[in-house]
């Protein structure tokens, strides 16, 4: 075995350089790449077990599932659940909110995290840099309940800090009820989200920046490149492959927004702009005991997610960016 492996080495490197697959039979590939197989197959099987096996649950979407009867004895109803979903006006409403807030969040947190990483990268004082790094990632660990509470108090018309300042400065005559204006909800939500997650999202970019080859910076320095030039021609291109990759991944999650932040920041007055798909799913399926409806929504989300990812990935491939697969 060891012998064959050894004898294969030259041709294998050859294969890497030129035509990777055509020259070898499947058996040969398995033999030559058995180490890669050992490294990957067991873990892929675990992922399949925990992610694909439970997909039998999707059958529920075509049933009128009840817990007592289970999947085997619940009656089939065809596409009824989907018809119901697509007929409901409210569904389109929450879909719009989900997509808009998802896109806003995606863009703002993408730009915010990269900007923060670049700014931190420019800081020479190590202690200051690490302190700010650590501090900015704290809110990630604070629950939305607490964050929403702070935001609501800050914006309160009844003695909220922001209103007090605005009135004092003379911008407002009377305190303004920010949380009552549905049009402001998307803004408030996006800012709150940025504030909570920007430090956390920066971590990966800082790691990448840390991994960039310092020789490039040194060479640029010698050439008299400005700070901007270094940022533009070394740091940003260094970040881009990972950034694009993360962006593609996140595009698929736009529709899977969760509901905690929207629910906790929202209220009856903003509900037309704050209710998202996941909250709708919770209220109209689990709370009403209608699991089938929830599964139908979940399937819909999965399909949309996958389509969006495939689409963006295709675009990335076309423009020669890094891509998922």
């Amino acid at each position: 075995m060891a012998d064959t492996a050894k004898s294969l080495v030259p041709s294998q490197t050859e294969a890497i350089r030129r035509k990777p697959r055509r020259k070898q039979s499947l058996g040969g590939l398995i033999a030559s790449q058995h180490q890669l197989l050992i490294m990957s197959i067991p873990f892929v099987l675990i992922v399949i077990l925990f992610s694909y096996v439970p997909l039998w649950g999707w059958i529920m979407a075509f049933q009128k599932y009840t817990l007592g009867k289970g999947i085997l004895h619940s009656p089939f109803v065809g596409l009824d659940n989907f018809k119901l979903l697509f007929k409901d006006q409210q569904f389109y409403h929450v879909l719009r909110n989900t997509l808009v807030m998802g896109v806003l969040n995606l863009i703002v947190s993408f730009v915010g995290a990269i900007a923060l990483a670049l700014l931190l990268n420019e800081v020479r004082a190590r202690f200051f840099k690490r302190t700010i790094q650590t501090i900015t990632y704290i809110p990630h660990f604070v629950s939305w309940v607490v964050i929403a509470n702070i935001v609501t108090q800050l914006l309160s018309p009844d003695g909220g800090t922001l209103n007090q300042i605005l009135v004092q400065v003379g911008i407002l005559n009377d305190p303004y009820y920010f949380m009552s204006n549905p049009k402001l909800f998307w803004v408030i939500h996006t800012i709150a989200n940025l504030w909570k997650e920007v430090g956390w999202n920066t971590i990966i970019y800082l790691a990448i920046l840390g991994g960039l080859n310092p020789e490039h910076y040194e060479a640029a320095e010698v050439d008299g490149a400005s700070r901007w030039a270094k940022m533009r021609y070394i740091s940003i291109p260094g970040l881009m492959p990972t950034a694009i990759l993360l962006l593609i991944i996140s595009v698929g999650w736009i529709i899977q927004s969760g509901y905690e932040s929207q629910f906790l920041l929202g209220n009856a007055m903003t509900i037309d702009y704050s209710e998202v798909l996941d909250l709708y799913a919770l209220r109209y399926s689990q709370q009403l005991g209608d699991y089938s409806y929830g599964v139908a929504i979940s399937m819909f989300k999965s399909v949309v997610s996958v389509l969006m990812v495939l689409g963006v990935n295709y675009l990335a491939r076309k423009t020669n960016q890094s891509r998922l697969f």
């Binding site: 050894k6 294998q12 890497i16 790449q33 180490q35 890669l36 490294m39 990957s40 873990f43 892929v44 992922v47 925990f50 992610s51 694909y52 096996v53 439970p54 997909l55 999707w58 529920m60 700014l119 420019e122 800081v123 200051f128 690490r130 302190t131 700010i132 790094q133 650590t134 501090i135 990632y137 704290i138 809110p139 660990f141 604070v142 607490v146 964050i147 702070i150 108090q153 504030w195 920007v198 430090g199 971590i203 990966i204 800082l206 790691a207 990448i208 840390g210 991994g211 080859n213 492959p241 990972t242 990759l245 991944i249 999650w253 979940s298 999965s302 996958v306 890094s322 998922l324 697969f325």
Partner: protein, 293 residues
């Protein structure tokens, strides 16, 4: 001269901006700290910002009085350490395999893995799966389902892919196996990404309480810190008025703000220190990398 001034202006701007951001993000934490050290009843009256008004340690006492808190903390640490070690190891192997351009299953496995980030069979099938695997009320339920996070695998894979080809290829020509290449070369120059992924995995394990609640709630010996503290919180929200005698007891909606704050402190502080500890590895990879190239 001009540039120096520009630099100075930029630096000032940068430091001020970052300091402001730092203040904005540290505020909730300091606020929580103050609230956690303030008398619960007094907290209800609002207006606590950076300093407690009626100083007390009672909120922490209530938390630490909870039976089994210490053991739960120990278990959480064990879970986090074990889960992070195993997770990092497996993630690395898988990411490396998927980063090899010559790997003949690369594309297929990538697709299979990536899709799992977007599909979800739902709560009930997953629950039944865990039951059928006999993972219920077993420590392995904390480790196994979370062993591989595809998101982390892809980040690491992308990092490996960006390493200069020359390093690994010359080793291969010298007859090194994939395991040797991975452990002797690639990992040596990947400390930034390894520490990042380790942080991601560790935070995931530390914060996780849903699996405890769903799959391990019947085994007291598996209670984790987060879950135990969740119990304290719910209990304090359900605090019982007993001043009228037991017969008229009623669950009331207490305002557990101070307890919640203290709980946040207890669960956040340990994990907060992981990051500063890992930060030093964020720059270590490069020197070796630079030498090798």
């Amino acid at each position: 001269m001009n540039r120096a001034r520009g630099n100075y202006a930029f630096n000032t701007f940068n430091y001020v901006l970052l300091a402001l951001l730092g203040f904005a993000t540290v505020f909730p934490f300091l606020n929580l700290l103050a609230i956690s050290l303030n008398d619960t009843l007094d907290t209800m009256r609002g207006g606590i910002y950076f300093l407690p008004r009626k100083w007390t340690l009672l909120n922490y006492e209530i938390i630490f009085r909870e039976n089994g808190l210490l053991m739960a903390g120990v278990r959480s640490v064990i879970r986090t350490v074990l889960g992070t070690t195993l997770g990092l190891f497996c993630t690395t192997l898988l990411a490396y395999a998927l980063s090899r351009k010559e790997f003949f299953l690369r594309k297929q496995l990538n697709v299979v893995l990536v899709l799992t980030m977007y599909i979800n069979g739902g709560l009930i099938p997953t629950y039944l799966l865990i039951r059928n695997l006999h993972l219920m009320n077993h420590f392995a339920v904390y480790i196994l389902p979370l062993l591989i996070s595809v998101y982390n695998v892809i980040i690491m894979r992308s990092y490996f892919e960006q390493l200069p080809d020359g390093i690994t290829e010359s080793a291969k020509i010298d007859g090194a196996s994939d395991f040797q290449v991975l452990f002797r070369i690639v990992l040596q120059i990947s400390l930034p990404v390894l520490s990042t992924i380790a942080l991601f995995i560790a935070v995931g394990h530390w914060n996780s309480w849903f699996d405890n609640y769903l799959y391990a709630s019947r085994n007291q010996n598996l209670s984790l810190l987060q879950y135990t503290l969740q119990k304290v919180l719910i209990q304090s929200a359900n605090e019982i008025v007993s001043d009228n005698g037991h017969a008229n007891v009623q669950a009331i909606r207490n305002n557990p703000e101070s307890i919640r704050a203290a709980i946040t402190m207890v669960v956040t502080l340990p994990i907060l220190f992981v990051y500063p500890f890992l930060q030093k590895y964020f720059v270590k990879g490069i020197t070796i990398g630079a030498m090798k190239e």
